[in-house]
């Protein structure tokens, strides 16, 4: 079974400082990994994904994430946080191998990011 852990319920960071939102995963094979952001009372917006290739993935709004196979991690990062980045962030994983289970994304419980002016 696949699973995702986001160890921090909340992350606080000062505006202009770098931010990191942590994610670790577990799958039986190779993973597809995703980050989504949710603003209040809105649906999820896709930020970025790792499929294969370069371990550093760049996405929307200046975010990036680094895939680390040995640590089974996919942490979300941004060099300089903005107040408008304050939102709920979800990491998700899917097994890469084709099959019925490959349709399903498994989400973490989410991390609330607060950027303080």
């Amino acid at each position: 079974a696949q699973s995702v852990a986001q160890p921090e319920d909340q992350v606080n960071v000062a505006e202009g400082n770098p931010l990191t939102v942590k994610c670790t995963y577990s799958v039986s094979g190779n993973p597809y990994l995703f980050w989504y952001v949710q603003y209040p009372n809105r649906g999820l917006q896709f930020l970025l994904k790792y499929i294969t290739g370069d371990n550093l993935v760049k996405g929307s709004y200046g975010f990036e994430a680094e895939f680390n196979k040995s640590q089974t991690s996919f942490h979300l990062k941004k060099p300089s946080a903005l107040v408008s980045d304050s939102a709920l962030y979800f990491c998700a994983v899917r097994e890469r191998t084709p099959g019925a289970g490959s349709y399903q994304l498994t989400f973490g419980k989410g991390t609330k990011l607060s950027v303080i002016p």
């Binding site: 597809y32 009372n41 649906g43 896709f46 399903q104 994304l105 989400f107 973490g108 419980k109 989410g110």
Partner: protein, 115 residues
């Protein structure tokens, strides 16, 4: 841009009522999904569909059913609503797994309150 729309943003129903939540996508995606989102629990998959008239149970299908009569439309049905089904419901769609554009795109959500 992919557009996934949900029939209602907010819905209030009474215990025992039959509730229909509708989702429509305009990108000719094969796969459609229904999730519920609860604080501290993240997103949990209720049902998904990988083709017209096909459905698969997700992690929490009890108390729910689905219908997919047309490719663009996926309906979630609460046969007899209960207070523990008060939640945010999110619909998503995606292309076939393994395609280069395989990403789930989400609708704005329906916040359902069951009294």
């Amino acid at each position: 841009d992919v557009k996934v729309t949900q029939s209602s943003r907010y819905l209030v129903k009474r215990t025992g009522e039959k509730v229909f939540l509708e989702c429509v996508q305009d990108m000719d995606h094969e796969n459609m999904f229904w999730y519920r989102q609860d604080p501290g629990l993240g997103l949990r998959l209720i049902y998904f569909s990988y083709d017209v008239k096909m459905k698969e149970k997700g992690d929490i299908p009890e108390g729910y059913s689905v219908s997919r009569e047309k490719k663009e439309r996926f309906s979630l049905i609460l046969e007899s609503a209960s207070t523990n089904q008060t939640s945010m419901y999110l619909c998503a769609s995606s292309t076939h797994p393994g395609s280069s554009t395989d990403t789930q795109y989400f609708g704005p959500g329906t916040r359902l309150t069951v009294l």
